[in-house]
């Protein structure tokens, strides 16, 4: 029972990070119909930029409080990633908007590998320890169940950012323009929406969310390295598809569900497979879920049926 509760807590924490990344995928997909393969790499760049900033802060202002350090690191990482997101769209994807459907996807894969390689050049191949700025001593709210302050922060921050995004999309002028563009580029532009600017803004917002997610991810595991974005990116994509791609609420739900399934699965796989498989198979759950969802309910949990664009 304790294990069950503990795994649920872990699942919620990981799931909320997935949800935050999944939002970036789902927004871009909703507007462009493009799987931005490089989105996971934005997360990695965010985490490593934050790490670099912390290293610099250590030297120039060693007596800064941990929270102030974290705020400054985020203050650097988020704009860097936003610029990166903007440049990706401007330089690579915009020119391919009317290209055959495989071209943007192949480009996105190329961008993803380019970013990984650049990160490898800048930061090396090694794993870097990410400083634990928020205390990691576990609290024990219920006996046998542990949760660290970092994990609580992750859940709270994700919830706040998701709420903020929902307000932005549903209540503001920019959000209305985004929804209009998602529905139909041409008609939106006839109504006076600057479609290019809106698409750029979507990439920027998604990249900003990914940067925050990257910092949280790195603080949770205490590790950052050049390939850290690949798996969370892929899992977040799974979460987006699970929830119904193009649907913001779906991405959040999908992220949480995926986090739960993964952590429960990892906890119980040994029993389920009679000791044949162990928790090193944790990563295959995301792929299996992705496969099953796409086969049996391609529209996801909350998605509506969209016709196949031939």
């Amino acid at each position: 029972m304790d294990i069950l509760l503990q795994q649920i807590v872990n699942g919620l924490v990981v799931g909320s990070v997935y949800a935050l990344i999944a939002l970036g995928y789902t927004m871009v997909y909703g507007i462009l119909g493009l799987i931005n393969f490089a989105h996971g790499e934005v997360l990695m760049i965010g985490a490593l930029t934050a790490l670099q900033t912390l290293g610099v802060l250590e030297r120039i202002a060693p007596d800064l409080g941990p929270l102030a350090q974290l705020a400054i690191a985020l203050g650097v990482a988020v704009p860097v990633c936003m610029t990166l997101g903007f440049l990706m769209e401007r330089l690579a994807y915009r020119r391919l908007r009317n290209a055959p459907r495989l071209a943007p996807l192949i480009t996105a894969i190329g961008v993803s590998f380019l970013l990984q390689t650049v990160a490898m050049i800048l930061w090396g191949r090694n794993y870097h320890t990410f400083p634990q700025l928020i205390p990691t001593t576990p609290l024990e709210p219920v006996s046998g169940v542990f949760i660290t302050p970092v994990q609580i922060t992750i859940v709270v921050v994700s919830a706040l950012m998701m709420a903020g995004l929902l307000v932005l999309v549903n209540r503001t002028r920019l959000g209305r323009a985004m929804r209009a563009t998602a529905e139909n580029h041409r008609v939106a532009s006839l109504m006076g929406v600057d479609v290019n600017a809106i698409i750029g803004a979507t990439f920027v917002i998604g990249a900003g969310l990914a940067a925050v997610a990257g910092v949280m991810f790195a603080s949770n595991y205490g590790i950052a390295h050049y390939a850290m974005g690949f798996l969370p990116g892929l899992k977040a994509f799974t979460a987006a598809v699970l929830g119904g791609i193009g649907n913001l609420g779906g991405a959040m739900l999908g992220g949480i569900v995926l986090g739960l399934v993964e952590s429960l699965g990892a906890g119980y796989i040994e029993h389920l497979s009679f000791g044949f498989l162990n928790s090193s198979y944790q990563d295959i759950f995301a792929f299996i879920i992705l496969g099953l969802v796409l086969i049996f309910r391609p529209t996801g949990l909350l998605g509506e049926r969209v016709s196949d664009r031939a």
């Binding site: 493009l34 799987i35 690579a92 020119r95 391919l96 290209a99 055959p100 459907r101 495989l102 071209a103 943007p104 996807l105 192949i106 480009t107 894969i109 190329g110 961008v111 590998f113 380019l114 990984q116 390689t117 490898m120 050049i121 690949f230 892929l234 994509f237 598809v241 000791g275 044949f276 498989l277 162990n278 090193s280 198979y281 990563d283 295959i284 995301a286 792929f287 299996i288 992705l290 496969g291 796409l294 086969i295 391609p298 196949d308 664009r309 031939a310």
Partner: protein
């Protein structure tokens, strides 16, 4: 062959005969030329041929049928591990090549069908991600199936694979004809060359057959293809399993050539590398794919031999190691090809099963 010659700039169109015999001579003499620069380059040539086989197989799926497969390397892994299981001290089995290669190809095709059956209803980009997931799952299993029963020997991989033996003739030994000695790397080159030539002929025949035309129709417009009575589902499955077959054969040859297999050789990076070869050379074009595979196997090696010493003289130490350079090259090749020349170096042309027909209509 004619297409290859015709694609050579200038010479190909003006003096086709010179170009043709020149290319043929170059292909046959290539390992001897490469040998002047050292054994490594013959090895690179051998690998280039293996990559050609892979790229030709992937081209069936991506170029002809228009299905983006990001887990193609999994089929390569199936072929290589089949060889490792059936011809190495790991299970104390030493089957002959005539049993293993078809088995490896068959297993790979089976894997293609198993994967293809559920996922082929998906749209292009979803299909890409699911195949990527499949590739990763295969790799995770290869990495972890050493416990509780040791099947794949985990991350260490399997060593001491049997070399290729054709009719009692061991390709891994130096061949002696009197005083004349032929090193094993040359033998492998010519054997792989035969395989590639066979694959090219097969794929070329396939491309101009009814099946090839059905693939092209499906790739260009799936709805229209369905409307004229093409069973798109069957055609996709066929493309998948045939492509996988090539991957399986190439994998078996790779295992025998390399002598050991480990999950590291079958990472996503390799899938992407093969895809880049296809994209770089020209999707859907046999000549393009061959050129792409050749270029993208050689360029990183040349960079390795040029850029590393250059960096040492310029900066005193190595800033970009060869593996990083290779990734950089592949990533840039992929992006810039898509942005500026999406059809590749040697673009595919519309093909007709009877070219004469077209010539008569256009006086």
């Amino acid at each position: 062959m004619n297409d290859l010659v015709a694609s050579i700039p200038f010479l190909g169109k003006r003096h086709p005969a010179v170009a043709r015999w020149g290319t043929l001579a170059l292909i046959i003499l290539a390992p001897i030329l490469a040998g002047y620069f050292g054994r490594t380059w013959i090895r690179v040539l051998d690998f280039a041929l293996l990559y050609m086989l892979l790229a030709l197989g992937l081209n069936l799926v991506v170029g002809f049928a228009g299905l983006l497969d990001l887990g193609y390397i999994a089929f390569y892994a199936v072929g290589a591990y089949t060889w490792a299981f059936l011809a190495s001290p790991h299970f104390e089995l030493h089957w002959p090549i005539w049993a293993i290669l078809p088995l490896g190809a068959g297993f790979a095709a089976l894997a293609g069908i198993i994967l293809g059956f559920p996922v082929l209803r998906l749209r292009g980009d979803y299909l890409a991600i699911v195949t990527l997931g499949f590739g990763e799952i295969v790799r995770i299993f290869l990495n972890n199936l050493n416990y509780p029963v040791n099947i794949t020997n985990g991350p260490q991989g399997i060593n001491g694979l049997d070399p290729l033996v054709l009719f009692g003739w061991d390709l891994s030994r130096t061949l002696r004809l009197g005083d004349f000695q032929i090193h094993s790397l040359y033998l492998y080159y010519y054997f792989f060359l035969l395989c590639v030539a066979g694959a090219v002929i097969l794929i070329h025949r396939l491309q101009i057959s009814r099946i090839g035309r059905a693939w092209a129709a499906m790739r260009d417009d799936e709805l229209a293809a369905k409307a004229i009575g093409i069973d798109t589902r069957a055609m996709k499955l066929l493309a998948f399993s045939l492509g996988a077959t090539f991957g399986g054969v190439a994998g078996g040859l790779f295992g025998a050539f390399q002598g050991f297999v480990s999950p590291e050789s079958f990472s996503l990076m390799e899938s992407i590398a093969v895809l880049t070869m296809v994209v770089f050379g020209g999707m859907g074009n046999i000549v393009g794919v061959i050129v792409g595979a050749l270029a993208l196997t050689f360029l990183p090696e040349i960079l390795r031999h040029v850029a590393v010493p250059l960096q040492q003289t310029l900066f005193g130490h190595v800033i970009l190691d060869p593996e990083v350079l290779r990734m950089l090259l592949l990533a840039l090749a992929m992006i810039f090809m898509m942005l500026w020349k999406p059809a590749g170096l040697v673009p595919a042309q519309a093909r007709y099963s009877r070219p004469g027909l077209l010539a008569r209509e256009r006086p």
